[in-house]
Each structure stands twice: as C-alpha cells, then as structure tokens.
C-alpha cells in the first residue's frame, strides 16, 4: 500500500527530541492543501503514539505508518 502513497510534502524530523516532531508537523500540515499528504520521517518511537493522538486532536488522518531501518514514516492526510 505504501508504494502507492504519494506524499505532497516530506518532512525530515529524524533525531528531533520531543515534542519537536509534532510541533513541526503541526506547522507543516498547513503547507499542504486539504486532501493532500504530508510524510513525516522520524526516529522517535514516541511518534507511533504521538502522531495518531495529534491527528485525532487536530482532525487530520494518519493514512499509513511504515517502519523501516529504524526510520518511522508517517503519512498524514490534511483533513481540515
């Protein structure tokens, strides 16, 4: 499924401490249009819970999460 996802914007958040991945994505999501996909790349395992919680709070949607080689790729669709 992940191969089919086209990210309209990719944010490299690898190595950033808490809560910076969420802070930066909160801003970054406003730089894509509603319906478009933002890909957040992080190494923070907390992202696996932070991003779904953030998405529920902010009204956006986690489309897919992929973990490969220690990197967590989270695909977020802007909904609002």
């Amino acid at each position: 499924m992940s191969e089919a996802i086209h990210a309209d914007k990719v944010m490299d958040l690898k190595g950033l401490p808490c809560p910076m991945p969420v802070v930066k994505v909160s801003k970054g999501i406003k730089e894509v249009a509603v319906g478009q996909i933002l890909e957040a790349q992080t190494t923070d395992p907390g992202s696996l819970t932070d991003f779904p919680a953030w998405a529920r709070t902010s009204g956006n949607e986690i489309v897919e999460t992929i973990q490969e080689n220690g990197i967590i790729r989270i695909f977020i669709r802007r909904k609002v």
Partner: protein, 420 residues
C-alpha cells in the same frame, strides 16, 4: 473586548486569588532587587524584562477590577482595564518569563513572579490568545489518556524496537526477563519517560543494572497543560499517570529528566500511596546503596559541569543528588557560579522550547548570561537532567560556539555502568 468576555476573564482571574496570590499582588515595594535577578534582563537590559514590571502588568488589572481604590480612582496606583491591548501585554510578559523563580529568591518579600504569570497565562487561555501549539500538545496528551486502547499497540511496538539498544548498554543476567517491562501490576517503581528513545533506553539500562522491579508508563511525563498555564488540562494530563500508578499499585513514581513533569507530579498530585522521585534521586540512591557501579573512564580527561534545571533544583529541591552522582563519574567537576540555588535558568523554560523556532532568537539572546556562566567553568561536558534544558543548552552551544558536549545525566550514568 466585549463586556461578556471581560466578565468571563475576570472570573478566571478570581479563581487564582488565594491568600498567597493576594499577598504577591499587594506587596511589591518596587525596591528593584529583582531587576538583575532575571537572566532575560541581564542579557537584554530592558524595563519590560524586570520581574516587578511583569508583575505590575497583572497587578494593575487586579487593582482596577478587584480593589475599591482602583474602581474609584483608577489613575491612583495606575489601575488598568482588562482590554485587548492589556492581553497583548500579558502575553509579552508571560511568554518572555521562563518561570525559573530566580527573582523570587532575591525578592525580600518572596514574591513569586511565576505565580503571577500564571494569572496572565490563564487569562490568555480564557481569551483563546495563548500559543495554539501548546494547547494542541496538551490536548494530544489528554487524547492519549482517553483512548489508551487505540494507542497501546503502537506504543508497545515502539518500546519493543528499543530493547536491543537497552541490552547493548546493560545485558540482563536472567534469561527471559523483560528488557522494558510495561503494565506490570505490583511493580515497585513506575518510570514515566518522555516520548523519545533517549529518555527510555539509558534509564531502562540503569533500572535493569540495579535489579529494579520496574515498569514503564504508557504516558509521556511532560505536562503541556502546565506550560500553557491551564489548570484543567494540567490536571487531566497528570491524572493519567496518577491513575496508572494506582492501578498498578506501585510504591514509587519516578519521573524522567523533565523539570516541569517532576514539579507537577511532586507538588500537584496530592497525597497518594506512592512516593514521587526524579530519576536523578533514584540513581543517586542506587549508587548509595551499591545497587549499581559506575566507572570514571567514560569521562576521563573531561571537565564536567552541571546545569541545575530550575524546576528540579531551585523549585524541586533536588540539589545534592546530581552532584553525588557526578562525584562517581568524574574527578574534574566544576561548579557554576553563582551556586545552584541562584543558578541562571537555561532560558528555555515556561514552554519557550516547545514553541520551537518561533522563540529561538529570543531564547538565544535572553540566555547570553547563561552561555557566559557555562563558559566560565572551562567545562567540556555540560550535564543536565531536563529535556527542555538539554534542548536549550544544545541550541546555546551551537549559537555561541561553546564547543561543549551537552549530556543527559542519565545517559552519563548508563554509559558508565560497570558490573559489580
């Protein structure tokens, strides 16, 4: 601002008027002792950064709306109406104050500027004029508490991914023992970490080395409700951890290297059947009891200094423990001057670090005095025990070219572990 909004905000103001707050609001003699106590003023000498000036912004609104004199003769005592312009002044005062309480130590009356700024922050929350990201982060934490089942799998997967790195630091003697235990009822100690791996891996290695009967919390320790000054959100975030500790029947809740989390848990969780400790206190205890051993080899030839996180040291009372730990890690520890009780804030507290790049320029300029304080020690390693401080000190290190190795104290302990 319409009348209804003003009335609503004044009701919020009223909720803050306990005896201590009224004392702070009515006591300042403008002696000016606090002026140079503030690291912001020392770095950027402007009147608006004087603690008494910040307090006065809140105090004038108090005089106007809560004191007879201010209602009848507002110009006497410079009472001031709560308006949109006043809200902007409150924002500028509250979000240029890190809540370090250094000014309080110097004030002959012990006026607590952080408490006064909590009024400013609450009014901003009431007017929806607070930094939006802090409220979003607080709501994200609350959501995790409300929907734990939804997030559990992701959390457990994330924790599982860290186990190998923990074992690389400390190999468990007993086969089949869980490297990072989660949700263990009857564990002695509940460790509340931050979301990042750096907050879990070294701490887990030390707990395992000490043979601790521990369990990792589902929740992150940081309390963004406290940063934004919202008591309701602060309590909701805190309650997640309190309820987890009660459910698991632990005897001790150990808070990771996060100053705000430690102070909120220690001072706001009320009377509970568990004690609250910082991870620094726990590590010092392990060393004292001989449960862990560390070597000085890891930091041989290095000059080490320690930055006291304001919420853990000055405001939390954990002063001796980090020094006790560092005695075991280095032969060349150099204390900063002034001493820990009068230590300068890193410049990143009060939610400023969490506001990221928006506050970076201010944080770097306003903490110049901190950079100089660190530089004077001649240290090559700067240890600290707070995530906020670590982020800010790392930013200062880059900005001022200090050439330091900024370290978490827990990581230093984990890297220096040796077999008994």
């Amino acid at each position: 601002m319409d009348q209804q909004m003003r009335e609503d905000l004044l009701k919020l103001f009223q909720t803050k008027l306990n005896r201590a707050m009224v004392y702070y609001l009515e006591t300042c003699t403008r002696c000016g002792v606090c002026t140079t106590a503030c690291h912001v003023y020392q770095s950027m000498p402007q009147a608006r950064y004087i603690a008494a000036y910040r307090a006065e912004i809140v105090r004038r609104i108090y005089k106007k709306h809560f004191k007879g004199q201010g209602k009848l003769w507002p110009s006497y005592g410079e009472a001031k109406e709560l308006t949109e312009a006043a809200l902007q002044e409150l924002y500028d005062a509250a979000y240029s104050c890190t809540g370090c309480r250094r000014c309080m130590v110097y004030c002959p009356f012990g006026i607590d500027t952080q408490m006064l700024m909590s009024i400013a922050k609450l009014l901003l929350v009431g007017a929806h004029a607070e930094p939006e990201i802090l409220t979003l982060l607080a709501d994200t934490s609350i959501e995790k508490g409300r929907s734990l089942e939804f997030f559990k799998e992701g959390f457990l997967q994330g924790v599982k991914n860290l186990e190998q790195k923990v074992v690389e630091k400390w190999k468990l003697e007993a086969e089949g023992k869980t490297v990072i235990p989660v949700d263990v009822e009857g564990a002695e100690l509940l460790y509340v970490a931050l979301a990042g791996a750096h907050s879990i891996i070294p701490a887990a290695a030390v707990f395992n080395a000490a043979g601790e009967n521990w369990t990792l919390s589902f929740f992150e320790a940081v309390n963004f409700g406290a940063f934004v000054g919202d008591p309701t959100r602060t309590k909701l975030i805190l309650d997640r951890i309190v309820n987890e500790a009660l459910r698991l029947k632990v005897k001790e809740v150990c808070i990771c290297e996060c100053g705000t989390a430690y102070r909120v848990m220690k001072q706001l969780s009320g009377t509970q059947p568990f004690k609250v400790s910082s991870v620094t206190e726990v590590h010092a205890r392990y060393l004292r009891e001989g449960r862990i051993r560390v070597s000085k080899k890891a930091f041989e030839g290095q000059v080490v200094t320690y930055h006291d996180p304001c919420q853990i040291a000055r405001n939390g009372g954990v002063l001796e423990e980090p020094r006790f730990i560092l005695q075991h890690l280095t032969d060349d520890f150099r204390e900063m001057a002034p001493d820990p009780r009068y230590n300068y804030c890193c410049g990143g507290g009060g939610g400023l670090v969490a506001l990221g790049e928006d506050t970076l320029d201010f944080r770097m300029k306003s903490a110049k005095v901190k950079a100089e304080q660190v530089q004077k020690t001649g240290a090559t390693v700067l240890a600290t025990a707070c995530e906020n401080c670590h982020t800010q000190l790392s930013d200062l290190n880059r900005h001022y070219g200090l050439g330091l190795n900024v370290q978490f104290l827990t990581s230093m302990v984990a890297d220096a572990l040796v077999v008994s």
